[in-house]
């Protein structure tokens, strides 16, 4: 297994409330790793911790380097990219501009202060890959919901992130868009580690290479889709209670 990111005993404490308590998590290249769990299980908080937004104890190591205590943008520069529950794109900039910015975190001040002469090749390629080649000059704000989420994923791709933490990437998508997104995730996971926070069980079953179930801030179970689905504890706390919620969100 090609481990990209290794989290050991992560704990996040909000004024006495332990949102995440002692989570271990390994993300491997080549896998689409789903993080599931009921509301308040600590999934998003875990992502916040890894990306440097939330303070935590424990350790997050990527390619041998400890990330705890580093600033958000330093962690991002080490190839850890994330998306948000509601897609965060730059509404007033075009798709091309969005991607160009995402591709340029390492640019020199001199480059920044000049105009863009032409789009970098990886921006052009990525636009095609996320299906937005025809929208290069469209302001991101007018894109459809699903397109924004693809754009956000595309922004991580051009930024050369090799650990992608995606927070509900198919929320609000129709069936075809989900399929497309699922295939895109597998495609990009070929040489990257992809973690997906999701509620949608069908989507998870269709596309997960590995699943970790969180409950009340701790790992309940981890393994293949089948292993997890057959775990009686998971069925008890999660599939029983959250199924309706997930279905409601899907509808």
């Amino acid at each position: 297994m090609n481990t990209a990111l290794s989290c050991k005993h992560i704990e996040v404490d909000f004024d006495g409330f332990k949102a995440v308590s002692g989570v271990d998590l390994e993300l491997a290249r080549g896998e689409v790793h789903f993080l599931i769990g009921p509301n308040g299980a600590g999934k998003t908080t875990l992502v916040d911790a890894i990306t440097g937004l939330a303070k935590y104890s424990g350790s997050v190591v990527k390619d041998g380097e400890e990330l705890r205590g580093k600033k958000v943008h330093h962690i991002a520069r080490r190839g850890i990219g994330r998306t948000f529950q509601t897609a965060q794109v730059f509404d007033n900039l075009t798709v091309a501009q969005n991607l160009d910015i995402a591709a340029g975190a390492g640019r020199s001040p001199w480059t920044l202060l000049r105009r863009r002469r032409h789009l970098p090749q990886n921006v052009v390629d990525t636009m095609a890959r996320i299906g937005l080649a025809d929208h290069a000059d469209t302001p991101a704000g007018v894109l459809a919901h699903g397109q924004k989420q693809w754009l956000e994923i595309g922004m991580l791709l051009v930024g050369d992130a090799d650990v992608l933490l995606l927070d509900e990437p198919i929320a609000g998508m129709g069936h075809d868009e989900r399929e497309t997104t699922g295939r895109l995730l597998h495609d990009i996971a070929a040489d990257r580690a992809v973690a997906v926070v999701e509620h949608d069980m069908d989507f998870m079953r269709a596309f997960a290479s590995r699943v970790t179930v969180l409950h009340a801030g701790a790992v309940l179970a981890s393994g293949s889709v089948d292993e997890v689905s057959n775990d009686p504890r998971v069925q008890e706390v999660y599939l029983g209670t959250a199924k309706e919620a997930a279905d409601a969100a899907t509808a």
Partner: protein
Amino acid sequence: MSPAPVRMFLKTRLGTWTGFGAAAIVLFGLAPLLLSGFRLGLLAQFICYAIVAVGIGLAWGRGGMLTLGQGVFFGMGAYLMAMHLKMADAEFRNGPGAVPDFMELAGIRELPAYWAPFSSPAFTIAMILLLPTAFAVLLGLAVFKRRVKGAYFAILSQALAGAFAILLIGQQSLGGFNGLSRFQYFFGFTLADPVNQQMLYFIAAGVLLAVVAIALQLRRSRYGELLVAVRDAEERVRFLGYDAANVKVVAYAVAALFASVAGAVFVPVVGIISPASIGIVPSIMFILGVAIGGRASLVGPVVGALAVAWAQTALSEQFPSAWTYAQGLLFIAIIALLPGGIASVFKRFPTKRTPVEAAA
């Protein structure tokens, strides 16, 4: 001709040159021909406000930093220039090391040490360019790195303006409440001479064009796009690996530099700088023109600042009370109903290439 094609044209290289050419003809040709010496001097003063406005447009309109304390940087530039002018006057009258007249009156016999270097024009100009910029960088780093933003930043910048004005009032060696005034010469030229007053106007106009050109380049550069990105989704930018604080600091520092240069030109044009011109209220009044003209547009803040300054002069004498109401109503009406300012009225036909012009 509808506005959209005009705007499209102005985006082209030829259009940019045409725009600057037209502005140069108006500023350097028409204005001196049509306006009396007094009105031209007044225009020079308004242009100084417009220069500040260009900076605010950059920091606030493009960068989302509502800086309610530009009076601080305006004041720095103005006081630095005024110190040089007072030194030069004193040395012209009484030789090197002479004490400026207002200090004699305040009973200060020895030239304070920090005044001495300002007898050098080069040092003065260097300080006008460097000191406010460096201060803005330091303050910006202190504030933005700690992710103090939005309303917190606005309040802090406002408190800064208040504190700065109070600090100056307490400094007798900087003229205290009365400030510095009564300048005779500007780098060797007699300020009382109308020809030299016209020269000052040309300098002000030239600085305005230069400042607009710099702002234009910043807007069209990759940095300009990045700045808008930070304005609209700062966290996203940070998670892409940028230090968003640095992006903001640059715009804040450039706005400070513009304000400082404006202050430095303001002093010989108007002939006085005092704490009354740089405190909390003058600082927030800088915002009004920018809001009216269009915070996110390039030319909007310039037009807005000129319009507000003109209206203030023209209306306040006849209707001092009505003018205050008008100011209040303008703040409410423009910001609540037309947040893009006047500039947005001409953008009813959105062109595909520039969605960044939308209001913050």
